[in-house]
Symmetry: C2
Subunit: 294 residues, 2 copies
């Protein structure tokens, strides 16, 4: 079968064998926002045509491709949900080159009852075996980071943190950015920012401290982005760990980012394991298996 993690800005396809191993992979900058005029079928054929020609005829999709801006809008499935529930809620897409099914996103609420939604992350989470087996917490860092709680093989709830997007707005459009130039993302100033996030005064005070340290010649322009990043990720991780005492955090995503998060989680007294984005392929294969579609 073919599994595709089709997000807002990226398209990643996997050819998965009957035993669940990845036999081939393709990636392209063809996220749903980059596909003109809703030509999703054409894009799919261009990207995976050779695999279809080689005999594959089942395609399973996850991610923002199932949103209102995507190919077909799949209603959110409420939590708790695991592979069986997702398999039972697959949405068929009419496509004349193969059978195509779509994994719906999930809806839930945070601890205070505020609505949350996700599309794509649920599939990556289900691709991390220790989570399904033992339960625990998954963290998917990024523009909108997700922290996902898994109990007895099902996702029971999740919270989103606007960390990456807040970093971009602060760097690009406040006085902080005027004292920054590009520098290493993972140097000691990142750790200094994480340490700072434990100080009293709160995030809005710590943000101003980036400027205060620069004014006092105690923070170089090239170190400032990593320091700001450490402050923001430190605040995110501390708040999330406060709700998940003692859990192992499975961090899923691009290696540069999961490395920073694992380091932060350790600095905050937690324990993290790292997984790359190919977790999506295993999650897609698992859902297909539950749909008896392998």
């Amino acid at each position: 079968m073919i599994g595709i993690d089709w997000g807002t800005t990226s398209f990643r396809a996997f050819r998965v064998g009957r035993d669940g191993t990845i036999r081939d992979r393709r990636a392209a900058p063809k996220g749903i926002l980059n596909v003109p005029d809703g030509r999703f079928g054409d894009t799919l054929r261009e990207e995976i045509g050779p695999w279809l020609a080689a005999g594959e005829d089942r395609v399973i999709l996850s991610g923002m491709i199932g949103s209102r801006q995507g190919w077909i809008e799949a209603p959110y499935l409420p939590c708790p949900a695991g592979p069986a529930e997702l398999a039972g809620a697959l949405v068929d897409i009419g496509f004349d080159w193969a059978r195509v099914k779509l994994v719906p996103g999930l809806s839930g609420t945070d601890e205070a009852g505020v609505a949350e939604v996700m599309r794509g992350e649920e599939t990556q989470v289900l691709g991390v075996a220790p989570l399904l087996r033992d339960g625990g917490i998954a963290c998917l860092p990024g523009t909108h980071s997700k922290w996902v709680r898994v109990v007895d093989g099902r996702i029971v709830g999740f919270t989103t943190h606007m960390t990456g997007e807040t970093f971009g707005a602060l760097r690009g459009h406040t006085i902080l950015g005027r004292m920054m130039r590009d520098g290493p993302a993972d140097g000691p100033s990142f750790d200094a920012g994480v340490t700072r996030s434990a100080d009293p005064g709160g995030l809005l005070h710590h943000l101003f401290g980036v400027r205060a340290l620069a004014l006092a010649d105690r923070l170089a322009e090239a170190d400032s982005p990593a320091y700001l990043s450490g402050i923001l990720i430190g605040h995110e991780v501390r708040a999330a760990l406060a709700q998940a005492a003692g859990a192992v955090v499975q961090v899923i995503g691009a290696p540069e980012l999961t490395a920073l998060y694992a380091r932060t989680i350790a600095a905050c007294g937690g324990y993290a394991e790292r997984h790359d984005g190919e977790a999506a392929a295993r999650g897609l294969a698992l859902v297909a298996e539950h749909a008896q579609w392998t």
Copy 2:
């Protein structure tokens, strides 16, 4: 004498009687960033020429006019500092129409030892009599809000929160702004944001909730700015009060803003009194008096 609070974007002058009462006032959008080619002397003469002609010959200035971008850079005076210390550190400015002196800004450190500076707020704080008499906490809300600790008539330390500027960056340059239009700043959605700031999950999570509520049709576009404002001010106030248990907070500034802060402080279990920006005039008069310059 004439006292002038000369900031980045505004110029506010007061003619103050020997008994400290304000006899006249002028305001103009002639902050230091709006004065071309460093023509500060000309601006001063244009604005207060009539008062000088009427016999005033002493002018005392505070605010960003004493910064590197201003008329003359006055070195920061370290905390603790009160009216006597500020009077002893006045900086003379050469000006042929009157004697002009400049109140320096203050430097200090927050509880964690990170450097902090301010220019202008120190003078407003000293203009609030209950603070000088009984000590306590002053809050000066704005782009960069200041929380100032006063003990025995002197400013001992302060912290800055980047609340107003963060609001602007989030509204103007993130996905949150796309779901907003102008609406009342002080409606029930402001209070809902303040309440939200007490929930678990942290500020970066609460920010995403603005979008989540809007997606769930539980937050109208015109209510979203006030809700975001309530979240941010709520986080600022909770973090600041955590370091100032039981203190009365003297909130100084424009009435619309001090009303929102006083409301938030009350909602967070604190007690606030409100003062307008004319506190600057009384602070300037007090420093002049200590300099035996009245």
